[in-house]
Amino acid sequence: MVYKKRFDGRKDDELRPMEAKVGVIPNAAGSASFKIGKTWAIAAVYGPKDLFPRFLQDPKKGLLRCHYSMMPFSGSGERIRPGSNRRAQEIAMVMTKALEPVVDLSAFPNAVVEVYVELPQTDAGTRCAAISAASMALAQAGIPMKDMISSVAVGKVDNKIVADLSYMEEQVHEFNPESKDATVSDIPMAIVNNTKEITLLQMDGEISKEDLLSALRLGQKALDQVYQLQKKALKESFVKE
């Protein structure tokens, strides 16, 4: 019970330094770059366009389809073999579910909107950065949306409830000699900004119900920092030229 000061000196609800920019891929209908600490996600939106195979088509509305991929050199260890894997497939699925509640594709029957996210470098919180980037890219592409989705991980590191865990915090038993037997819970979450409703919720680790709810409340509050940055980046892209 001795993780007192965060490794990088942040306050409990303080996120790592962030940078956001939209319009980074001219070929795409919409695109965005989102950096948080040393995690970097680039998102591109293509479509709406015809969806194949045909049996996937929905005559009532278009389909949102996310893709998630770490670049081969983006892991902190050995090279990652390119191509999809089970982890990437699951993340793509939860990303789609996290964004769907605010995306209205009823004007695009039988069509698909593809969202591709690539990560050139990572240091924890990749799915959250991917979702925050994807939401901005969808907005820039002019896809009808009710709100922005913002995403960050929260969790309990040893005794401390914090927002935006770094890799060292996820592995606190390795980096803090006094936390050798500590447990860490890592809870990626995403919210609809106006209602604070949760659209992504996963967890690794162990936590009590009370601590979980405090962590989620902390996340709802901390995510305003992401939301403000997303809005700023989008506005900047419309004023220039």
Binding site: V24, N27, A44, S74, Q121
Partner: protein
């Protein structure tokens, strides 16, 4: 786009291009940013016009090949991401990605740009292997040249990671100050033949309008280390000579532009 293609061909005949450039003029900006990925041993983002390519170098320690027991190795892989163009789809690399990777690979490998012997740690047992991943971010044409620039820039920025001498394990999180043994700086230039004229640095539309292309990788001494002819039309020997002259000149131009950026 069909009208466009005819226009491009007709304009080329008059020595003109759709975007107003001279036939042998590269787009601007030409920019390179090194160390864009902390997780890679070397990395770069290179932009020419609106074409953006990232390259990352990962190093590993492997057993040398049996026929070269005192040498390390290199491997180049290219990913044409669906993120970078509506023309690319998810899935294993297609022939376009394979050709791109292999042309860049040969340019570096055959020039002996990396001193493979210096990559060896214990002959017959352990040597550094260099993997270069080329990733397209926005394909607005001329991936061959831009990918080659990105690969070279990433190699120039690479630093060996710390190796635990007792266990032989690589500590990827800690880099030494030791660079790769880079002996030369080969760069490829692809010359396109359209309507009897030669152009460099094509846009996507120009890439759909060419008769033949020739990629020439060369170093600062004008030594050629790789060739790749593409396209449907055959080339006369005089064409080849003229294309090589242009490629050698532009290779030096690109090397200067790159090194200007890296200072």
């Amino acid at each position: 786009m069909i009208a466009n293609k005819e226009t491009i061909i007709q304009l080329a005949g008059e020595g003109k291009r759709l975007d107003g450039r001279a036939l042998t003029e590269y787009r601007q900006p030409i920019s390179a940013e090194l160390g864009i990925s902390w997780t890679a041993e070397g990395s770069a983002r290179v932009q020419v016009g609106e074409t953006v390519v990232m390259a990352g170098v990962k190093l590993s320690i492997e057993k040398p090949y049996n026929d070269t027991p005192d040498e390390g190795g290199i491997m180049v892989n290219a990913e044409l991401l669906p993120l970078s163009s509506s023309e690319y789809e998810s899935g294993p690399p297609g022939i376009k990605a394979v050709e791109l990777a292999r042309v860049v690979d040969r340019g570096i490998r055959e020039a002996k740009a990396i001193n493979m012997k210096k990559l060896c740690r214990i002959p017959g047992e352990k040597a550094w292997f260099v993997t270069i991943d080329i990733i397209t971010i926005n394909d607005a044409g001329n991936l061959f040249d831009v990918a080659g620039l990105a690969a070279l820039a990433a190699l120039k920025s690479a630093k060996l990671p710390v190796v635990d001498e007792a266990t032989g394990a690589i500590d990827y999180k800690t880099k030494t100050t030791v660079s790769l043994p880079l002996m030369k700086e080969p760069l490829g230039v692809t010359v396109y033949k359209i309507n009897g004229r030669f152009i460099v640095d094509p846009t996507i539309e120009e890439e759909k309008s060419y008769e033949a292309r020739l990629t020439v990788a060369s170093d600062s001494n004008g030594i050629i280390s790789a060739l790749q002819k593409g396209g449907e039309a055959p080339l006369k020997l005089d064409d080849v000579a003229e294309m090589i002259d242009l490629a050698l000149e532009k290779s030096n131009f690109l090397r200067k532009e790159l090194n200007k950026q890296l200072k």
